[in-house]
């Protein structure tokens, strides 16, 4: 914490902090730590915050190029003398090297592109006009996105001094290269205590897992570059995919009971998809043949991103070959992939039903115990489902429940008894946590609908739809505004259903939300999950609607079942998110494709699926335990998490 503060009062790039390991590219670089603190006085401007705007999409680079750099990172030595020289320039350049957002991954490209300094210079002078977006997309594909980001920041800082920019360019450009040696140090310093602890724990676990492999020294030397490559494979030994912590931790837990508790406390780090080593490993084990997306968007490289087009037919053709996968699970996976099942509850129920089918057809192989083998089976199903589409947090909770039930099965009970009890448990979970919970939520939320209200909703949430219909049945007089957005246009289906039931509706797109908001009296929103700090993780666009509603003093009600509550804390929507089909946003029916006629290399599409709404914008969360303020989410998690794990 202190180290972070030491880096200056500017907005530290949390992006890289939260979800990432510090990958130390250059262990033997003796970058002086004092550099981090040598913040030039005018860099204290708060304007630097805008450099991290997730909206800004830096220009592309060749993926292969980038990845190869990743691997060679550690080997690139930096002449010390040159660094000193650059350091000298730094002060002139007036920005803080500590906040290198992308330094760790990208820095090598700067070394190689040293000769391109002139290009950068040219670019800077071109974008001196302030047209940032245009400038960044017109960047040469040679790869100066670090500079692009930097420049953004720089621009923010020096807005008034725009005329001086050309003089300073030299400094900035060289400075960007200077990033290389120093990037490792500040990043390492900025890891929070919790992060370090998590890292330590996972390494300890990895050490235990890799007993006899002789890399014990690796675990102890944390953060050092040589430790990394050894650590990762060892951790992967028994996990087909470490994409979700539940899958990883629980599976291990059943194998090694003493470690279980510890693993539960500290979830294994999520798979970072910009980590090439691990991605390759995961690929080898993967059932599904996934093609990686070529154009990855900066800031979102750590998310799984695959081309959707080729996957479905490929999987369909393999339907009869995959014997280890239960057909019901396979079917659900395909439905996820094709987008036939969407919506948190629907996905969760479909998954649980598939697991129920699988459990019914399950027979314990000889010389194995049901508890362990079935847990392993479920894990493999889960990893298959993850390959089809990343799990939602609610599904993670459901899986955790099921695994817990399996682990808690008494050893004495017979196979048929165990199966029956598990099926019963799943039914109960679906019934109590989803169906009945929805009914309670509807009952609660309907009390907040008065005659003459104008209710706004965004996208299509099944609970919200039920609330509207129930309030309509009660004879309340109200109007509904359905706000929708491209590319999914989920609101249209909702609108159709509501209009068919006789509700008076208004349909608009999210562009008009600030126009429509002044006549709205309540905003009802669904959620994919609600996190411990009250952050609502929901369909992308929700945060925008909530923010507008907040500024218009319209109360925002989030309707969410308590099984979707998660103890995680998330501050932004970058470190954990899901990427949709990037082509979906490029294609507008009746228009020329965005892709057409443009150079594919410097155009990237970012189709995010979720966003995080800060709790300030949420007036109330309607859940099956009643109506609670967002500050009470941790109370519910604390009081009731145990209950449904031990039903």
């Amino acid at each position: 914490m202190d180290a972070r503060r030491g880096a200056g009062p500017r907005a530290v790039p949390k992006v890289r902090q939260v979800g990432f390991f510090t990958r130390n590219p250059n262990p033997n670089s003796p970058s002086p730590p004092s550099r981090t603190r040598s913040v030039p006085p005018n860099s204290n401007s708060p304007a630097s915050g805008n450099s991290l705007s997730p909206v800004m999409i830096p220009p592309p680079r060749h993926v292969s190029e980038n990845l190869s750099y990743l691997r060679t990172t550690a080997a690139v030595p930096v002449p010390y003398s040159r660094r000193i020289a650059q350091e000298h320039v730094t002060v002139v350049g007036s920005y803080n090297p500590a906040d290198s957002v992308l330094g760790e991954t990208l820095s090598p490209s700067f070394l190689d592109d040293n000769s391109d300094a002139s290009t950068t210079l040219g670019w800077f002078s071109r974008s001196g006009s302030g047209k940032l977006a245009a400038a960044s997309s017109s960047l040469p594909s040679g790869g100066f996105d670090l500079t692009a980001v930097k420049f953004d920041k720089f621009c923010g800082l020096e807005d008034k001094k725009q005329s001086q920019i050309p003089e300073k360019i030299g400094g900035v450009a060289v400075e960007a290269q200077n990033e290389v040696p120093s990037s490792s140090k500040p990043n390492k310093a900025k890891t929070t205590k919790a992060e370090r602890r998590a890292l330590q724990e996972s390494q300890r676990a990895a050490k235990a897992a890799a007993k006899g492999e002789g890399n014990k020294s690796a675990a102890s030397s944390r953060g050092a570059a040589p430790a990394k490559p050894q650590k990762q494979p060892s951790q992967k030994k028994d996990d087909p995919l470490v994409a979700l912590s539940i899958a990883a931790s629980d599976r291990k837990g059943t194998d090694r009971p003493p470690e279980k508790e510890r693993k539960k406390e500290v979830p294994a780090p999520r798979m970072q998809f910009d980590d090439k080593n691990r991605v390759e490993k995961a690929k080898k084990r993967a059932l599904v043949n996934q093609t990686e997306a070529r154009n990855r968007v900066e800031l979102f490289r750590h998310l799984p991103q695959y081309e959707h087009g080729t996957l479905l037919p490929d999987l369909e053709s393999k339907f009869f070959q995959l014997d280890q996968m239960h057909p019901a699970v396979y079917k659900v996976g395909l439905q996820y992939l094709a987008g036939d099942i969407c919506g948190g509850n629907a996905r969760c129920i479909a998954m649980l039903h598939a697991f129920q089918e699988a459990i019914k057809d399950y027979t314990t192989p000889a010389e194995k115990t049901l508890v362990r083998d079935l847990a392993g089976k479920i894990s493999s199903y889960v990893s298959f489902l993850i390959e089809c589409r990343p799990l939602s947090m609610s599904m993670g909770n459901a899986i955790r429940f099921l695994k817990n039930r399996i682990a808690k099965l008494p050893l004495t009970c017979s196979e048929s008894e165990a199966k029956a009890s598990l099926c019963n448990d799943i039914d109960r979970f679906i019934n109590e946590k989803i169906i009945l919970a929805d009914k309670v939520i509807v009952r609660h939320a309907a009390t907040k609908v008065r005659d003459g209200d104008v209710l706004l909703t965004y996208g299509s949430s099944c609970v919200v739809e039920m609330i509207f219909l129930y309030a309509h049945e009660l004879g309340k007089q109200f109007r509904v505004v359905v706000v929708d957005s491209r590319p999914k246009l989920e609101g249209q289906a909702l609108l159709r259903r509501l209009v068919a039931k006789g509700l008076s509706c208004t349909y608009t797109h999210i562009n008009a939300v600030s126009y429509i908001m002044h006549e709205v009296t309540r905003v009802f929103l669904g959620a994919s999950s609600v996190l411990s700090n009250g952050t609502v993780y929901s369909r992308v666009g929700t945060a925008c609607v909530a923010m507008v509603a907040h500024s218009f003093h319209v109360p925002v009600l989030i309707c969410c079942e308590a099984y979707k509550f998660h103890e995680r804390v998330q501050l932004d929507s970058i470190c954990s998110n899901e990427l949709g089909d990037p082509n979906a946003i490029a294609k507008v029916p009746g228009r020329i494709d965005l892709d057409k006629g443009t150079n594919k290399e410097n155009l990237q599409h970012l189709n995010l699926m979720y966003d995080a709404t800060p709790s300030d914008y949420v007036s109330m969360i309607v859940t099956d335990y009643g109506m609670i303020p967002p500050t009470s989410v941790p109370v519910i998690v604390r009081e009731y998490r145990r209950e449904y794990l031990l039903i």
Binding site: K448, R522, P555, L557, S619, M620, Y625, G626, M627, I628, P629, T631, S632, V635, I636, E639
Partner: protein, 395 residues
């Protein structure tokens, strides 16, 4: 700026003993003498006697001034409606009514509404002819429902009923005992509750002492027994502070409080309700009671609390709420209009034309973001803890 310096205390010592109010009081409102206030409350001509600046004299002459004390009238009306003999006859007769029982309890000056409700419910148990626990529970439920529907606007009444019902339905020990002992146990518990609630005020007063420092100025709105207890304790502890009382139109609860405080020799200054923002920069903290504390951590209190909280928030003054924990209610108003309005008549002193509408709501809702701390018998809480406590209590 006058702040934390005890200058007014020095002023006080310099002035004579009967000048309880600081000398710099506004000319518009002459110092109210503690003895005369009580008389003045009853006296319809009280306002006439006040000296007024020439500017205000003319409009007053035209429109007249507020003469009647609504509270006194209402109290009179209440006493005539439910006479003590009625309650007595009810209790002995077959037609036992919770509401009347409740009203008879409520007349006790020191008894909070929630406590009166619980006493009334205890009386229901006492008079009940039920033979099983289930029957008793149903009877209690009916009684508490009728009590709640009798006055839907009172939050502490609702909260008190809910709390007691919660105890009845939740206490598993009751199931195993025989019926009569369970019954007496419930009555005993109700008695204990009354005891606890009277102790709650003491606890709150003790807790809040750390927040009242010498030389501070406290703004108080409305008449709250808890706040009075807090200030009384502070005065007993020889703290030097002064109090600004709002007038508390229309039932002038502020006058009542200033009367009480003047008896304690605490320097008091009366403000009209609209002078809150004007005098806020002199104020160090705002102390209010609460009619009810809702799930969000906000409070429902006498009309005007919200605007005082807004002003205090914008001037970065802390707003402290003193409320017993039995006022916590599982309600969640989203905005001001989101609750059944408690209406009270407002006397403007002049006939209001029938075409003119009058806002007669008596309560408003203060959202939690404008409150600093809640002093309760559970401890000093931030608003967000209220929901925590409620969840643990009711779920």
């Amino acid at each position: 700026m006058w702040r934390r310096s005890a200058s007014f205390i020095l002023d006080k010592y310099q002035t004579t003993q009967n000048e309880a109010v600081p000398s710099d009081s506004v000319a518009l409102l002459p110092p109210l003498l503690s003895a005369s206030t009580a008389v003045a409350l009853q006296n319809p001509d009280f306002d006439r006697n006040m000296s007024m600046s020439a500017y205000y004299q003319t409009p007053a002459a035209h429109h007249g001034v507020v003469k009647s004390d609504w509270l006194a009238q209402a109290r009179e009306a209440a006493t005539t409606a439910v006479g003590p003999e009625v309650a007595a006859s009810v209790r002995s007769g077959r037609t036992f009514s919770v509401i009347e029982e409740f009203n008879s309890w409520r007349k006790q000056p020191d008894l909070a509404e929630a406590v009166a409700a619980i006493r009334a419910l205890a009386a229901v148990i006492r008079n009940s002819e039920a033979n099983t626990m289930m029957e008793l529970e149903i009877e209690l439920k009916k009684a508490s429902d009728s009590l709640k529907s009798w006055d839907t606007t009172s939050f502490s009444l609702t909260a008190g009923c809910d709390l007691f019902m919660r105890y009845v339905t939740r206490t598993s020990a009751l199931v195993y005992e025989d019926f009569n002992s369970a019954k007496s146990r419930l009555i005993e518990c109700a008695e204990k509750f009354v005891e606890i609630s009277s102790k709650a005020r003491r606890i709150i007063a003790m807790l809040s002492q750390d927040f009242i420092f010498d030389g501070c100025t406290i703004l108080v709105h409305g008449f709250s027994r808890v706040v009075l207890e807090v200030l009384k304790t502070a005065a007993q502890n020889k703290k030097l502070f002064r109090v600004f009382c709002t007038e508390g139109r229309p039932n002038r609860t502020g006058l009542r409080l200033s009367n009480e405080l003047a008896k304690l020799d605490v320097p008091v200054k009366l403000l009209i309700d609209s002078a809150v923002a004007y005098s806020m920069d002199e104020v160090d903290m705002v102390f209010v009671g609460a009619g009810g504390v809702v799930e969000s951590g906000g409070i429902i209190n006498m009309m005007g609390t919200y605007q005082i909280a807004l002003v205090a928030h914008s001037m970065n003054k802390p707003v402290y709420v003193a409320a017993e924990s039995y006022k916590f209610a599982r309600l969640y108003p989203l905005d001001q209009k989101d609750m059944a309005p408690a209406l009270h008549p407002i006397d403007f002193g002049v006939p209001i034309p029938s075409k003119v509408e009058v806002e007669t709501s008596a309560q408003d809702y203060t959202p939690p973001q404008y409150l600093s701390l809640l002093f309760t018998d559970l401890g000093v809480l931030t608003p967000s803890v209220v929901s925590d406590e409620l969840i643990q209590l009711y779920l």
